[in-house]
């Protein structure tokens, strides 16, 4: 057990906080280089069309224009996933959504670039559009892409763990419910921006607002045809990411090419409207959940079907599809589980990962259905959850290895804090403890702390840290991780300071630079604290060992007596005997030569061996429970969330203040999703973004944000650095379903569709008043010809994690 921690667990300021508060932080658009040109990108105004001709002559002739590029300059496709290399930096022969990039200009300033962009003439031949999941399932032609499982179906997945039909037969109650979770977007305050500089050595540097410089590096090497060693990607501090800056983007490729062509630095800064087209946000998902339970609420089997509206490109979509079915088993015991998932291509901005990647949608469905089940069984919604929690140190039916599991404590805290038992009155609407219109609801969730597998298959570490100690006692920590505001730079400083017994502000942190820092895969999947933290501990402990050996020799004491604290290296038995940290570095450098150490981290191997088992495994799982208190006005349908109590199983807080900030930010974002945020499209073909602006894409202001009561549960996980688990994404998950369940408690209607807008509440209330079912939500799912599921025996059935051989069909 770790003891006497000096830095870990303390609310230190972030290492970059002061720069951010005095306006000194250099975001990508703040970079200005001599002779820099500006880039504007012409985007398609049609949702689906063939490009017949592009005439750039007028644009090129405009004074101040230095280069114009089109799709023929970018013949090589790319994409974040190896299985979805379906994007071109500029479209070659076809556009697939309004906003797809077609041509780009580099000019002396932004205004000239804008004028030149408008002089480019593109001749299109419009194609029929696919705008919904239903259409994609029904209409095979025209195909949006020439790849995918069939027609406009990008991917179909079918997995079965144990025999679910057997489980449904054992159940006392089987419920089937249908839900829809509308898509929404990250809306980072900073628009994407990038600056490329092709220098006289023939090497290129790209500064970009990206969460994943390593993947951008790989994509650039592929598309530009330069050796990767001649490309340097520097991720600038991200002005918000939330998943929206995790793909390699066309504008990043385009400015590199324009800089190579012009020999001058080139900058691009997207407009807010373009950021909406970039998207890669939350997939709209239609879901059908069939769950069997015993009378005590124990789940006997679950069959989950998800239908994802993927938009026009692959992005992370195959992973999103698997994620929409992966974590159902990690919260409550689900002994038999079947998942079928389908991702459709549509002529809309591509969807991808947003905070919680693929899991808030199924979590909503599962937690609202559980509330309905509790009512049918006459159980308290707290009890039905608490009684059937997944066991710590167990393996789920789909072979996810659970380590620490603090959900029981989370539930206890929010139940106590919200005075649940005094306010929840059971299910009889005529015997209420709260007045009609006031309601309370609970939901729980879990999330990964980093994906078990990297995006491209390899045996190398997922995270690397390099430490350099100089003879003045300076310590520099270098890591490929990207600070997107969550504080990952600070986490590196805190952990190294803890191990070396110095102050975090003694440390210089250099991150997210593919020339200078060892690879870290990026800021996604809540992986950074766990993975870079473990790598940093290893690097720092190796440095510590060198210092300890040198100082022990100097002092003539056994090495086990040497301790590091308060910027000193000393004999624990005679603490006054010792040297300063800087002197210790000199001793070690004299003994060993120039001091540098490395650390790396690879997640443990997952027990799953079946095809598809790559999505879901994680070194650890975080847990959250939330209770929401709402006020619903039955005359207007307006839902006000007054307060959320949330408890998060963090394992251990490296910095509790930053953990609190992530919890509060997650509640905020969950609140936006459940009450107002939606990516919606208009016109009869349903493909024009309805409101690509911050004014009309509603997000919570200070006036909508609720009061938040936070509890941190510290139950250290053996795989986390000092026991730490993730907090950036998990606490968002229980918020939408807790609010939905509270709305039901307040006014007795079920809103099975996110967001819960006043119109939906009123419709459900009116239906109820007319004697119909008080519910708003989807009724049906598309009829799909699913492939035969891959069958996997569960651990309790004696399975070994592999799929069962398919029964051979003989003709």
């Amino acid at each position: 057990m770790v003891k006497n921690l000096k830095v870990v667990g303390k609310p230190f300021r972030k290492v970059d906080a002061r720069a951010k508060c005095v306006g000194q932080t250099k975001f990508a658009d703040d970079i200005v280089l001599p002779r820099m040109l500006f880039c504007k990108i012409l985007r398609s105004h049609l949702p689906h069309a063939l490009i017949k001709n592009i005439d750039v002559s007028k644009a090129l002739a405009l004074p101040g224009v230095f280069a114009v590029v089109t799709g023929k300059d970018f013949p090589i496709p790319y994409g974040i996933l190896p299985v979805s290399q379906d994007e071109h930096a500029l479209c070659i022969d076809k556009v697939r959504f309004i906003g797809d990039p077609v041509a780009a200009v580099a000019a002396i300033d932004e205004d000239v670039a804008f004028d030149a962009m408008n002089l480019i003439e593109v001749e299109y031949e419009p194609l029929d559009t696919i705008s919904t999941i239903d259409e994609a399932v029904l209409i095979d032609e025209p195909r949006i892409h020439e790849y995918g499982d069939s027609g406009n179906i990008h991917k179909k997945v079918s997995l079965e763990f144990g025999n679910v039909e057997e489980g449904f037969a054992e159940a006392d109650l089987v419920r089937e419910d249908t839900f829809f979770y509308e898509g929404n977007t990250h809306l980072p305050m900073e628009q994407h921006a990038a600056v490329a500089h092709f220098d006289s050595d023939g090497k290129i540097t790209l500064w970009s607002s990206t969460q994943t410089p390593h993947y951008v590096h790989r994509a650039l090497a592929k598309v530009l045809g330069l050796p990767a060693s001649h490309i340097r990607v520097i991720a600038t501090p991200n002005g918000g990411g939330f998943g929206g800056k995790s793909d390699p983007f066309n504008h990043e490729v385009v400015v590199c090419k324009l800089s190579m062509l012009t020999g001058r630095p080139v900058k691009v800064t997207l407009t807010r409207e373009e950021v909406f087209y970039c998207h890669r946000g939350r997939h709209p998902i239609l879901m059908r959940v069939k769950t069997g339970v015993k009378n005590d609420g124990a789940i006997t089997a679950m069959h989950f079907q998800s239908f994802l509206d993927g938009g026009a490109y692959g992005s992370y979509g195959v992973a999103s599809t698997f994620y929409s079915g992966a974590l159902q088993t990690v919260t409550y015991e689900v002994p038999r589980y079947k998942f079928q998932g389908l991702r459709a291509f549509t002529n809309k901005p591509p969807c991808g990962p947003k905070r919680g990647h693929g899991t808030p949608q199924p979590r909503y469905a599962l937690e609202v259905q559980l509330d309905k089940i509790a009512e049918q069984l006459g159980m308290d919604p707290v009890e039905i959850r608490r009684k059937h929690l997944v066991a710590p140190n167990s393996i789920t039916a789909n072979y996810l290895r659970i380590g620490s599991m603090g959900l029981g404590q989370c539930i206890e805290k929010v139940v106590e804090g919200s005075r649940w038992n005094e306010r929840f009155s059971g299910w009889d609407p005529n015997n209420r403890k709260l007045p009609f219109g006031k309601g309370i609801g609970i939901a729980c969730s879990s999330y990964i702390c980093g994906a078990g597998l990297p995006i491209y298959w390899n045996n190398m570490p997922q995270s690397g840290v390099q430490l350099r100690l100089d003879r003045q006692g300076g310590v520099c920590v270098m890591c490929g991780s990207t600070d997107i505001g969550q504080g990952s730079d600070s986490i590196l400083a805190y952990i190294v300071a803890e191990v070396l017994g110095i102050d975090p502000f003694d440390i210089r942190v250099v991150t997210a630079d593919t020339d200078l820092t060892p690879v870290d895969l990026g800021s996604y999947s809540s992986r950074v604290t766990l993975m870079t933290g473990n790598a940093a501990i290893q690097a720092a402990e190796r440095a510590r060992e060198l210092l300890v050996m040198a100082v022990a020799e100097k002092l003539g004491v056994p090495i086990e007596n040497i301790s590091l604290a308060e910027r000193r290296v000393f004999d624990v038995e005679n603490p006054e005997i010792g040297v300063t940290f800087a002197e210790a570095v000199v001793l070690a450098e004299s003994k060993f030569g120039t001091l540098g150490t490395v650390g790396s981290y690879s997640p443990p191997r997952s027990p799953g061996r079946y095809k598809g088992s790559g999505v879901g495994p994680s070194p650890a799982y975080s847990y959250s429970a939330a209770v929401a208190e709402v006020d619903v006005n039955p005359d207007t349908g307006i839902v006000v969330v007054e307060r959320v109590w949330i408890a998060h199983d963090i394992g251990r807080s490296i910095n509790p203040m930053l953990v609190m900030g992530q919890v509060e930010g997650s509640v905020y974002m969950g609140l936006g999703e459940i009450l107002m945020e939606e990516m919606v499209y208009r016109e009869n073909r349903n493909v024009v973004h309805k409101f690509p602006s911050m004014l009309e894409y509603k997000s919570p202001t200070t006036m909508e944000m609720c009061d938040v009561k936070t509890y941190l549960i510290e139950d250290p996980d053996p795989n986390g650095p000092y026991g730490a688990k993730e907090v950036g994404q998990g606490p968002l998950l229980p918020v939408p379903p807790a609010v939905a369940n509270a709305v039901y408690n307040a006014v007795g209607v079920r809103i099975d569709e996110v967001p819960i807008t006043p119109e939906k509440v009123l419709r459900a209330l009116k239906d109820k008043a007319r004697g119909r079912i008080g519910r708003f939500g989807p009724a049906a799912i598309p009829v799909v010809d699913w492939p035969e599921p891959l069958r996997v025996l569960t651990p309790s059935e004696g399975g070994d994690g592999s799929e069962m051989p398919r029964v051979a069909v003989h003709g």
């Binding site: 508060c21 501090p237 509060e664 997650s666 905020y668 911050m694 006036m703």
Partner: protein, 174 residues
Amino acid sequence: MQGHTKKQIAFRLNGEDIEVAFAPHKTLLEVLREDLNLTGTKHGCELGECGTCAVLVDGRSILSCLMLGLDAEGREVKTIEGMANGAELHPLQQTFADLGAAQCGYCSPGFLLVAEELLKKSPDPSRAEIQEALSGNLCRCTGYIKIYEAVELAAARMRGEEMELPKESVYGLD
């Protein structure tokens, strides 16, 4: 745009008298960032929707993306770069940094200047007053709570009062 004759104006910026020449159609936001290299002022929408580009003009917060640069003639403009007193941070900058009110930090300059304006008018604002004053500024990271706490702590310090942040704000509830 090329071909536009630049216009020169004089105004007071962060306590200094300056002169600057720029194309007349430029917004104050563009003049600050592009012609004066003060990139601390950020842009989120350039349509007056998000509050990110707020600066103080004659002590009042305005959205610099909606004001023409020419309209700054003769006026007193304060940006985030002028908020600290030399190397000494403004109490709001100090509390925003110390309490985690700046996560990604992109919206922070706008919030800080609007909060400064609030505390000048109302040295001891209630939570509701703070919410109202900051309602034109969007933040996607914090859920605003750490921002309220930073404003309250800075306000107390500016009034010369001792104030401890409640333990639950930093460590959560017991």
